[in-house]
Symmetry: C2
Subunit: 233 residues, 2 copies
DNA sequence: TGCTACAAAATTGTATTCAAAAATCAACAC
DNA sequence: GTGTTGATTTTTGAATACAATTTTGTAGCA
């Protein structure tokens, strides 16, 4: 009986809406600074306000939305100061994920990361930035998954979500791109050697180098996001 | 006008209820595994179900409550596996807070921490465990505040809240208590020297040593909490 | 034209209601 | 005594209604 209820997970409307609203934020449908018009959204989605308001509360608590009493919710914006605040925390979490991943990585998991790495290198060689980012995201996700720590994953993902508010078509300089690629080579070596300390250090450095790119993007276009969120590397 | 709205912060019922429910959980009024009876709580607090449900969603997302679709909310419980999951993450965050604190600590802040340290040492000498914990908590909070990173603080506090679900009157062994005290001596030296790396290492080790105490407490009394949450050291 | 005051409209926060799901209870069969 | 079934009660999730607050529009005045 308890087993049956566990193999048939239920979901509620508010939970679905949390995901839906996240997608709308990350896709650019709702941009930083935008008001979230409750009734309009309800009309559009064909639901009542109650579960939507519940979802807004969750996203408010996560920092993706700002809840303004009596004035509704607004999509959060990211300043350079926010970046300077979030990145060290993300760095600490990612460094830990590197250590844990090396401790727990299976051969199959490593093989997959290596395959993705080669694919990403191909995109780098051909100058295909969007594809590079897509595969790059997969690699980072594989490392996080290999760490096998749901609490870590939840916290990292929550912060990564906030970073995604800084949504631009990032044009990384060739120099930074080459640097990022070298960092990924180091990561692969560390993973192969299951050298947690080394991976931890590389990941932390990698993120620190990424920080300036994100801040530059904010400086160039604060509040003028274009299109869907693109990850940085 | 925007300035005026900012100097007069408003609050909503759901936010108050988030805090109130947290207090109820930490105080032991609601214990791990307990169902959260919505209507009874509303009758007791003299409010309608809507803001209460909104508050439950927030606490569910934070991990203090488990939301069971169609069956309501239940106060989360902590297993040893949860501890093994949460503590490395807390360790990484606390290590970072140590580094940041050393970089940013004012003389006044250090003086306050030192005073609290001596007070705590006095309680240790006299065997006054509850007072030791109370002051100990203050010291850890001062270090976190000196780090001056709200994102870090929010994440750390959220995890610390979950740890508080393991609520027992911890009887630390004399051996562990002496060890903890020595660790705090090291912390004070590192803070005085503004040696971030050293403090980071000590804090991380301190937490790792605390982990076993918490797990032991869970083993001895899982689900049988007594009285208000007591911090560990 | 710009400012102020007021009214109307829109939006937000909370309370209440309704429908669906879960829990509990009672009756019956083995 | 145990297990099953059906009815009843309770609880939960979502929709709707109501009150309060904010925003917008209009009129009057300098």
């Amino acid at each position: 009986m308890n087993q049956i209820s566990e193999i048939a997970p239920r979901t509620t409307l508010h939970e679905e809406l949390v995901g839906r609203l996240r997608d709308m934020i990350f896709s650019g449908e709702l941009k930083g600074g935008d008001r979230v018009p409750e009734q309009k959204l309800c009309d559009m989605l064909g639901i009542s306000r109650t579960p939507l308001r519940e979802a807004l509360k969750v996203l408010g608590n996560e920092g993706l939305l700002e809840l303004l009493p009596n004035r509704g919710a607004r999509v959060a914006t990211l300043s350079e100061a926010d970046i300077d605040e979030i990145f060290p925390v993300m760095g600490a979490l990612e460094a830990l994920s590197g250590e844990l991943a090396c401790a727990r990585l299976t051969d199959a998991e490593f093989a997959e990361i290596r395959a993705l790495h080669y694919q990403m290198a191909l995109h780098h060689t051909r100058g295909e930035l969007a594809d590079y980012f897509r595969v790059n995201q997969q690699i980072h996700e594989c490392i996080l998954k290999a760490a096998a720590n749901p609490t870590l994953e939840a916290q990292y993902t929550s912060l990564a979500g906030r970073i995604r508010l800084a949504r631009f078509r990032a044009n990384m300089t060739d120099k930074r791109w080459d640097q990022a690629m070298r960092e990924h080579e180091e990561m692969l070596c560390a993973l192969e050697a299951r050298d947690g300390k080394r991976l931890s250090e590389v990941l932390s450095r990698h993120l620190e180098n990424k920080r300036e790119t994100v801040k530059q993007a904010i400086r160039e276009g604060a509040g003028e996001a274009h299109g869907p969120a693109v990850a940085y590397d």
